[in-house]
């Protein structure tokens, strides 16, 4: 369902400048037909999670090749391919790294047998009160400040929450609201002083928090820009009245041309105030329903400046707009060459699938630095994971406070977020507690709505310790049993959701410090509890093979994994139709089972497929 953007053109070579804004599926199809006119290609400009792409739809195909850019969609397609019994070739790239994997029901692991790293989330208090990294400042600037000033006013916002929780945020007057006839410059300075000055002073009053941490410094406008007068309305004259709202930029108006420069505190302050002014002056209509968009120059400028000022206040290194944009926009770095290599490897695997050459299926990893002389490393696929709740129907366990948590919490945080179900159905025995769908009757909908906000133990069919719930997604044809266990208390930092799901292997969220490649694509906006965001990216990424917790005894596998499960671009693989390759015997000593030996992991030989 994506449309073409300028930044795609450095690698998605089926597209041209003139195609920007058009449907990727449609333009790609037209481009391919130009050099292979007789192929049958049908484009769908739609979301792969749409109900029309059900199991019957997938059953039409002999093989599915994924070129998705987020974990959610990949899990969804994985389940549909399992349900339809259609082989799936998955892939991903990030910078110089990439991999191709093959998934065949019953024969190999499914895409979810090995846990995939989820985007990193941060505890609320870190974001609102005790940031220690630049990414915390970005999250604050984007999901709190920007949202508060320009986003939906009705959304809950933690902006004034302090770690002591003593200062109540229920003020009668909304500090952030632009008062009628208030001079914009004055408003800007007022907001600045409030979030960077006053709020910090309030935080400082809570001595406990700063016993082991560096104290932040309050910053006020008058300190950074002592000569700035309130009446600065003249700056609007600099712009031509016919300025497109989308091309309005604080950088341009201030003459700061280079997005790679790291600005000073003063420059950031100027940008902050100028951006705010421009939003109110040129884009007033959008205020109140704006969502941060990395391609919105002014929004990026505002968020970068705000994050930098906060960083300065907390003694964290400031970053250039270019870097800040990458973090705030979850931008994946990408080049044409890696994508070309992975595309070639995808086609090779696809051909093996079409020829049912099962013994030849390989997972192939593309490395930046050779491992034992290899830049392209093939590995035999693993057997299915017996504990995988997706392809092996293992029951899960959930610890939750059944007297405090609501059905809504369960559905949003567990069923949708963790289990990746799109249109779930929740049953307790034969009682339908909740369901999502288009064809529901009104009284059912009302019933579910009522249930949604009930605490678990107070549901019509009460859910307490020992209850087993069945959650299903009909479209994905996935059914999962969850044993509920009541627990009173949860650690706010370690278990911010107030729930603990076990029985499935979950990869730990990645830390920037490990220099690991990023996880599986754009993170979806958070609920108010924790704010997910991808870790920052380094210029040079090194692969650090990660150790995954070994699966309990009884299963015959131990695995080590390259942490290169990465994001993929909508892959511009050319549609190879060659199938004339002769089958030949591989030489005896061509040992294809490659062990990834990082020296300190205990690897036993994987069980081969045949």
């Amino acid at each position: 369902m994506d449309t073409i953007e300028v930044s795609n053109l450095n690698r998605q070579f089926l597209f041209r400048q003139s195609h920007v804004g058009q449907s990727k599926a449609k333009v790609a199809r037209d481009a391919v037909l130009r050099f292979r006119p007789h192929i049958n290609i049908k484009p769908y400009h739609a979301n792969v999670k749409d109900p029309e792409f059900n199991v019957d739809f997938f059953k039409q195909f002999n093989v599915v090749l994924n070129g998705l850019d987020n974990l959610d969609a990949r899990r969804h397609v994985n389940r549909l391919c399992l349900a339809a019994d259609v082989p799936l070739v998955e892939s991903g790239t990030t910078g110089f790294l990439g991999q191709v994997t093959v998934h065949v029901k019953g024969k190999t692991e499914c895409y979810e047998c090995q846990p995939k790293p989820t985007p990193k989330t941060y505890p609320v208090c870190t974001i609102t009160s005790t940031p220690s990294k630049f990414v915390h400042c970005i999250v604050w600037a984007k999901d709190l400040l920007f949202a508060k000033l320009f986003g939906d006013k009705n959304q809950g916002n933690d902006l004034n929450v302090h770690s002591s929780n003593a200062a109540s945020s229920s003020e009668h007057v909304d500090v952030f609201e632009h008062r009628v006839d208030e001079d914009i410059e004055q408003y800007g300075q007022r907001i600045f002083d409030h979030v960077f000055g006053y709020n910090i002073e309030v935080a400082l009053a809570n001595e406990e928090a700063w016993k082991t941490r560096n104290k932040p410094k309050p910053i006020y406008c008058r300190d950074v820009l002592p000569d700035r007068l309130v009446s600065q309305n003249g700056s609007f004259d600099k712009f031509c009245a016919t300025d497109e709202p989308s091309s309005v930029s604080a950088m341009t108006s201030l003459g700061l041309k280079n997005p790679q420069d790291v600005w000073s505190l003063m420059e950031n302050t100027k940008i902050f105030l100028e951006a705010l002014k421009l939003f109110f002056g040129k884009r007033e209509k959008e205020i109140g329903n704006m969502i941060f968009d990395k391609d919105d120059q002014l929004a990026v400028e505002f968020v970068s400046a705000a994050a930098n000022i906060r960083a300065a206040s907390f003694g964290i290194l400031m970053h250039s707009l270019f870097e800040a944009k990458g973090i705030a926009g979850n931008i994946v770095h990408a080049v044409a060459t890696t994508n070309a290599i992975i595309a070639g490897l995808i086609v090779i695997e696809a051909i093996k699938v079409l020829q049912s050459d099962t013994k030849s299926y390989r997972m192939t990893y593309c490395l930046e630095h050779p491992s034992r002389k290899m830049l392209l490393m093939p590995v035999e696929p693993f057997e299915p994971n017996q504990s995988c709740y997706v392809c092996s129907e293992t029951p899960l366990s959930l610890e939750i406070n059944t007297y405090r948590s609501k059905l809504r919490d369960f559905v949003e945080k567990i069923v949708k977020a963790k289990l990746g179900m799109n249109m779930p159905l929740i049953m307790h025995g034969s009682a339908l507690l909740y369901e999502v769908g288009d064809d529901l009757e009104e009284d059912m909908v009302a019933n579910y709505a009522a249930n949604f906000d009930k605490v678990l133990s107070e549901l019509p069919s009460p859910v307490t310790s020992g209850t087993m719930l069945t959650v299903e997604d009909l479209q994905q044809e996935l059914s999962c049993n969850i044993n509920i266990k009541h627990r009173e208390e949860f650690d706010e930092e370690k278990e911010p959701d107030g729930m603990l799901l076990s029985g499935w292997a979950q990869a730990p969220p990645m830390e920037k410090d490990n220099n690991m490649p990023v996880g599986n694509g754009e993170s979806t906006p958070s609920t108010s509890q924790a704010v997910p965001l991808k870790p920052e990216e380094d210029d040079d990424i090194e692969i650090v093979p990660t150790e995954i917790k070994t699966i309990p005894a009884g299963t015959k596998r131990k695995i080590s994994e390259l942490s290169s499960t990465a994001i993929s671009e909508p892959s511009s693989a050319t549609d190879g139709t060659r199938s004339t390759k002769k089958e030949e015997e591989i030489d005896g000593d061509d040992d294809v089972v490659v062990m990834l030996d990082d020296g300190n992991s205990d690897i036993s030989k994987k069980k081969r497929l045949h």
């Binding site: 050099f35 990458g326 080049v335 002389k373």
Partner: protein
């Protein structure tokens, strides 16, 4: 006074680190000429950086370039991107793999690309070259290079793509001065050696690459002569120096002197290469019918080289002989690896591979082999 001096030194160190050695030397002279004083103020530093960038390269990246190249700048940085935009590359032999390579470097935003291939379109070419419109009305009367040139321009209007006619092996040495990188494909052994030597004789380094794909195998050769670059290892930066042999020197290394378990494809390609030379065939002009003669040649070579014949399997040789056509996914893979290598060499960033790369779709391994004299490294 001392404080001023140490601040000045700090500023210089920072600038040197920021600009890199070459640029730093240039900058110093220019500054001396224009009498710019080192400023330690924040605005001064920013302004100075900008000024130095302008003097050095003539231009900063345009807004258009920054937008287009955003995702790759996040991989290799602005400096590398700038260097790419000033590079000039020559490619001879427009088969599928070379085409993939050209697509990659044009997308990456090199300065200019010169194509050489006077051959006309054949059905074989169409099977692996996606730049040629399959409509005969469109491609008749035009050479492969001309057709590819038109298509490649569309991929990135900021890159100058042009065609050079003629036989590259007859051109004088100074023709090569125009280029930073020369890539040859579909080339006989004799021509490879000839062009490689010409490149090596130039006063400025001209990087030399060969690339060939047969059946579902591919081979890349790299010659960067004497190559020094900074290698970032976690926190430290180390100066690395590599010495590359020429193609002639590399293939002259006795086979028994090579490490055990060198890719079989290396030997197989050398046998085929020698066969084509002896029989005076054009590169790639072989068939399964040649197998008996090739097996005989293999026997002779292995005897001379004291190498067991099992290192060069019959099956592999047969595939390479029969596979006149390239296999498109392998073209993409080899063209991708080659693209990466050329970008590394131009930008000076990243470990270049030394000195052969092999890929065989049958086992799926992409292997680097260092075929050089163990004593000298070249």
């Amino acid at each position: 006074m001392n404080r001023m001096k140490s601040l000045h030194q700090e500023g210089r160190k920072e600038q040197k680190r920021y600009l890199g050695d070459d640029q730093w030397r240039k900058a110093r002279n220019l500054r001396a000429l224009l009498g710019v004083l080192a400023q330690t103020g924040r605005e001064g530093v920013l302004e100075q950086r900008r000024w130095l960038r302008l003097r050095m390269d003539g231009e900063e990246l345009t807004e258009q370039e920054t937008a287009l190249y955003d995702r790759q700048i996040r991989v290799w940085g602005v400096d590398a991107q700038r260097r790419l935009s000033k590079s000039h590359i020559l490619v001879s032999g427009m088969k599928g793999t070379a085409v993939e390579f050209c697509k990659n470097i044009v997308l990456a935003g090199i300065g200019s690309l010169t194509l050489m291939d006077d051959r006309m379109v054949t059905e074989e070419a169409l099977s692996a070259n996606f730049l040629i419109p399959p409509d005969e009305n469109m491609f008749s009367e035009r050479s492969l290079a001309e057709l590819c040139c038109d298509s490649l321009r569309e991929f990135n209007p900021m890159v100058r793509v042009s065609v050079e006619k003629g036989d590259l092996s007859t051109f004088d040495g100074d023709f090569y001065d125009k280029f930073d990188v020369v890539v040859v494909s579909c080339c006989s052994l004799r021509t490879k050696k000839l062009i490689n030597e010409k490149c090596r004789k130039r006063s400025k380094r001209v990087a030399f690459y060969t690339v060939d794909c047969r059946d579902s195998c591919g081979e890349i050769f790299v010659d960067l002569q004497n190559y020094t670059y900074s290698q970032k290892k976690l926190v430290d930066t180390i100066e690395q120096q590599l010495q590359y042999p020429s193609f002639e020197e590399a293939v002259a290394v006795p086979w028994r002197a090579l490490p055990r378990k060198v890719a079989k494809l290396y030997f197989a390609m050398r046998v085929i290469e020698r066969f084509e030379q002896t029989e005076e065939r054009n590169p790639g002009e072989t068939s399964v019918a040649d197998l008996p003669s090739v097996l005989k040649l293999r026997k002779e070579l292995c005897e001379t080289q004291s190498l067991n014949e099992s290192h060069i399997p019959d099956g592999l040789l047969e595939r390479l002989l029969a596979g006149r056509r390239e296999f498109p996914p392998v073209c993409a893979i080899i063209g991708g690896i080659l693209g990466q290598e050329v970008i590394k060499a131009i930008s000076g960033k990243g470990d270049p591979l030394k000195n052969f790369f092999f890929f065989d779709a049958f086992d799926g391994k992409g292997i680097i082999e260092d075929i050089s004299n163990p004593d000298t490294g070249s």
